[in-house]
Every structure is written in structure tokens, then in C-alpha cells.
Amino acid sequence: MASFEEIAAESQQRWEELTAGGQPWIRVGTALCGKAAGCDAVIASIEAALEQNGVAAQLSQVGCLGLCFAEPLVDVQLPGGPRVFYGNVTPDMAAEIVSNHVAGGSPLAHLALGYLAAGGPDEEVDSTLAGIPDLNQHPMRVLENRVALRNAGTIDPGDIHQYIAYGGYHALNRALTEMTPEEVLEDVKTSGLRGRGGAAFPTGVKWGFLAGSNAPQKYILCNCEEGDPGAFNDKAILESDPQTLVEGIILAGYATGTSHAYIFIRHGHDGPIDRARAAVVQAQEMGFLGENILGSDFSFHLEVALTGDSYVAGEESALMEAIEGKRAMPRYRPPFPAAVGLFGKPSNINNVKTLAYVPEIIAKGGEWFAGIGHDKSTGTVIICLTGDLKYTGMIEVPLGINLKDVLYQAAGGVPDGKALKFVQTGGPLGGVLGADNIDIVLDFDILRTAGAILGSGGVIAADEDNCVVDLTRALIAFCQYESCGKCFPCRMGMSHLLEVLERICRLEGVPEDLDLMRKVGQDMQAGSLCGHGQLGFNPVASALRYFGQEFETHILNRRCPTEVCSAPRFSPVSSRR
């Protein structure tokens, strides 16, 4: 088996051949956002045009750069030159780009979205780029500080050598050769990293529980269930840079003395699943997974496991049930997973983003990470911006940034001259914030106090034409549909809430309904087994807190101010089990 130095040298050489070699390099975004925008037709057109023009070029399918609003996104890099990006590319545009830019050597300034200098933002660019803006000055990019997403949209996610050429697996090599497991764990503790899956629990502390157990069989479980409507960043990491996750998982294994791990994904999302599986195979081939990794006495095995459609399967104990092949129903705790987890063995569950941060934390040190962020919320946060925004997509910004800046600066505010009415954050168990309450610092604890969690990073914006009561009904319809049914406060409570909300949306609510919902919410919170039922009242609670008046107008005046609820409304899905 090759030494790490040999592997790294080979990766470097391949990278130089790719970028400085004789061929132009064309990259197309092919994450779920690119697919939905039609990248397949664009790729077919590029291939045909290359053939027609008789030029040879390297064509790579990359992941998501974050500028989803501009998908299909294509960029062209001539040997030694900058990357020039084209947004909202149609098959016809693609053909024009190939003949003029790839074959002809002249970028199409009138079509280009921006350029990224190959050597970084300070590099002088040549005059053929006149008229093309620096993409780093795009509103979606100016606030960014990319840690977990550092390679997303840049490297080919199917080529482990590109990841290594970009600094990948150096952290693992360093950990295995220079650091004890305790030192790796200490670095993660120092970083202040908190779980990005919703609860924001300190990762180092959680790993400490697992490290403390000397059971012969233990598990690291990486949670990529990601059922939150409006959040796609976990899938985007797998689609864009799966090796950063694989390296993070291996480091977690080393730090905790664990030899087996699973990445857990919902079936049907073929793009992320295929990338994850291919990444595991490539890491095995390189000797980063398997027995005696890089010649050390550390051995580690990683497997991809799939679940059926179930939101609650993302809950940590339900996840273990699903990997065991059963119904995804949460377990009673204690015992906690760190004592009795998957197959009865001690286990540690982390979100994709949490683990994707780890290689950079080990490479640059825990203190470096702790220096980014705000108070006890260290590092960055990856936000998925959707809904009524000028720029929809995914950005990674330091914690401590103001939500208002994210919405108005990065996302460009609400289009068509309309006003922002509210934002929904943190998924269906999160909350809503009114437009007057978005002047708030992104910090796990501050947001929680405001009744709107950061959760998995989904931020959905709604303009003045939207009705808060209607959205709340849709969120509760989701929670009701997804209740696993194991405990009645959640199973019945969700149904009851939905019934009341549907009544209010039909403008048939009664004054007692608001108190009735609060009562049901209290019972759910007190009596539910897992977070789904315990937090499931959040959307209603925060909507009542910031938009109580709007509920009252529906009930007392029998009127929906936005007229959304005057059309006959329905919940697309009612009870599933």
C-alpha cells in the first residue's frame, strides 16, 4: 500500500495536469438543484457541441456551489486561467459557450455571471475578462466563510484525488501519525463545535461519552436523513464533497476508539446515495478505510444504510431502529445511545454537517474554529435559503451574523418589490419569525429564546401575500403525517391540532380554538416520547406569538387578510397510520 506522501504527490500531479494541462475544463453543477433546473439537457448539449467543434475538453459533474438560483450553472476554465461562470444556462446557451469560449477562447461577457480567479481573490485577471464581475463580489458570496463547504462546486465529488489535492486527508494522516485519540478529541472539545442536526449539543462532550466506553464493538452513525422540507445542505455535502464527510467520520472513529460507522440516507435520493457509496469505495481503495489505516494500528469500516420514507427516522433512536431494519420508531431512554445503541452497542450519532467540519478542525486546530462565530455558537452555519427570495441557494456564514443581513444582503431580499412578511426557520419543528423580528444574531441560544431554532439550517421566506395560519396548517399537516404513532400525545395531538387549524383556515374557527391548541400543545410537550411530539407545537406557538392577531382575524372576523384561506384549502395528506 502506498504511503500518504506518495498518494498526496500523485493527487497533486493529477491536479496540475488537469488545471495547467492543454485542455479547457468545464464544470457543471449536478446536485439536486442542478438536476431540477435541467442540467442533464445542458450536459448533453455541451457534449454534442464539443464534438461538433472538434475540441477536447475535460467535462466534470460537480456538486452545488450554493448559487442554486442560477442553476444550471456552468463554468469554463481555460488552461491556467480563471473560472468563468454562466448561470441559468439553457442547452442553446451551452452550445454557444462551447463554440465561443471553450473552442474560440473568448468568454461571453454579456452572458457571464462572474469569474473566480484560479489563484484566489487577489490575483490580477487578464483583459479578456473585461466586463465580467468578480463572483466573490456577488451578494451570495460576500458574507461567506467556507469551512465545510470549502470544496463544494469546485472539485469533482467523484474523484478522491481532487479532494486530496485540495488538502484532503492531510488531517487524518496528521492525526494517525502525530496525535493520540485523546488529542483529537481534545481539539474537537476546544473547537466548541456543537451538533448541526438540531439540538446543538457539544460534539466533543458527546464523543467523550463514547470514548469513555471500552466495549469492543461501538458505532459512529452519521445522520443524513434530512427530512426537513426546505433543508438540503446535508445532501448537498454528499453531492459536492463526500470525502470531507468520510474523513470526518474516520476522525470521529479514531477519537472515540470506534471501528465501525454508518452513513444513513433516505432511499430515493439517488444522487447523494451514489456519491456516498462511491466515496466509501474510493476511500477503501486508497487505504483510508479498512484494516491498519495508513500503516497505523487503527482499523475502521464505513457502510451506507438506507431508510424508507420516514421523517422520524432522523431522530437518533429511531435511526438505530431503521438501520437494524425495523420500523423507525424512537426508543425509550435511558438507556442512552452512548450506553446501549445500535445493535445494543454504544453508539454516537452526528449530523452530516457536524462531521464535515472535523477535518478542518483537526487541520487548523480547535482554537481556530472557536475563533469563528459568536459566544457559545462557534464556527459557521450552513443556511438553505428558499421561498420568496431573489437569490435562493445555500450559503455558509460565520455564526454571529445577523439574519437580516442574510436575508436582505445575501439573498437579495424579496423580489417583485414585495415586502417580507415572515421567515420559517429550523424545519417543521422550528418556528416562524415576523419581518419585524429578523434583526437577530444567528446563534443557537439566541434563536431558541426567540422561539425559532436554527435546526438543520433551513430558512424559508414568505412575502406579504402569504398567510401565516395557512403555513402553520401545512407544517402541522406534515408533523401529523410523519408522527410515527408510538405514543398517543403526539399521534392524537397532531391530529387534533390539524383539525383545529383546518377549521380556522376554512374560516370556521371558534374563539376557544386558540386556547384549545395551547392546551394540546402543552400535553404534547409534556407527554411525548421524542422530539417530534415534544417540539411539534413550536410552529403553532411561534406563529401565535408573532401573529396572534392574524389568527384572531380568521376566527373573529371570519376573514383571511391575504385571502389565501378563502379558497377551499386542503391538507394534501391526512393520517398515514
Binding site: 439536486l32 426546505g230 432511499h267 421523517y311 431494519g325 428558499t386
Partner: protein, 157 residues
């Protein structure tokens, strides 16, 4: 139905991951056939040394499993929050109208299955639908109706 037996066996054995469970085996069978026939439940039980009850418990829990042969085409429309806010409801209404269905389900001619999805994962391109697993972003009621009409009218396809 006897022709299914070798395909079921093949799908169950072809699983390459080390951890083989009732759920992973059910997913493998459905990937192969597009549904889980009654016989499939029995085969999965035998293959995983489980009872039919245990297999059925799992199969009936996850709504992605179906127990009748699938229609020719699968249309999915997302009703997740991002899509909801920018027009999922008109899209669902259009899809229902074009397919002549009252709610999600199969058309009587066996040409089309309509399913609601809680999030297709391309929320930045909302509203999102999928036809035969190909995602379509920024879908409109008009484009949905036209695509569904094509699928229903298509000959021999």
C-alpha cells in the same frame, strides 16, 4: 406471479452492503419490481429469518412501499413548506385535474401513479415535481398539465 420468484431472489442476494436487514431487503425487492408482491413478503421473511408478521410490520410502516404493480409512469409533486409557499397547491390541483384523480393514487388505465412527496430535496427550485424520478424545478400548473397529458396519451409507452 411465478416469474417474479427469480427476480426477488436475485434482488435479495445482490445486496452488496454488509448489513442486510428486513428493511434493506424490502427496499431491494421494491427497487427491482417497483412493488412488493405478497410472495415477496414471504420470501423476505425466509431470507432474513423473520416472521411474516415482522416483515409486514416494516413494509406497512414506510409509505414508499406499495403492494400492487406500479403504473407505467410515476408523477410526484412536493408539498413541503418551501414548495407550499410558492405554489405547490395549484400544482397538485393541476396534477389531479390532468390525471382525473381525486387524490394521490393510480389512474384506472394503469398509466400513471400520482404521489405527494414531503420534500424532493431541490427546495431552491420550488415548486418541484418529478416525473419518473427526474426532478423538474419551477414547475407551473400549465407545464404539469401538459406533461401529464403527454404521459396519458403516449402510445405503447
Amino acid at each position: 406471479m411465478d416469474g417474479l420468484k427469480p427476480r426477488i431472489a436475485d434482488a435479495m442476494h445482490r445486496q452488496s452492503q454488509p448489513t442486510v436487514t428486513v428493511l434493506s431487503t424490502l427496499l431491494a425487492v421494491q427497487d427491482e419490481l417497483g412493488f412488493i408482491p405478497k410472495q415477496g413478503i414471504e420470501e423476505v421473511a425466509a431470507f432474513t429469518s423473520s416472521t411474516i408478521n415482522e416483515v409486514w410490520a416494516v413494509a406497512s410502516f414506510y409509505p414508499n412501499f406499495r403492494f400492487e404493480p406500479p403504473c407505467l409512469h410515476q408523477v410526484e409533486v412536493c408539498w413541503g413548506a418551501s414548495c407550499h409557499l410558492v405554489g405547490a397547491m395549484p400544482l397538485i390541483e393541476a396534477a389531479l385535474q390532468a390525471s382525473g384523480l381525486e387524490t394521490e393514487g393510480d389512474t384506472s388505465d394503469g398509466r400513471l401513479t400520482l404521489r405527494y412527496n414531503t420534500c424532493l430535496g431541490a427546495c431552491s427550485q420550488a415548486p418541484v415535481m418529478a416525473i419518473d424520478h427526474h426532478l423538474i424545478g419551477r414547475a407551473t400548473p400549465e407545464s404539469a398539465k401538459a406533461r401529464i397529458a403527454e404521459l396519458l396519451a403516449e402510445q405503447n409507452g
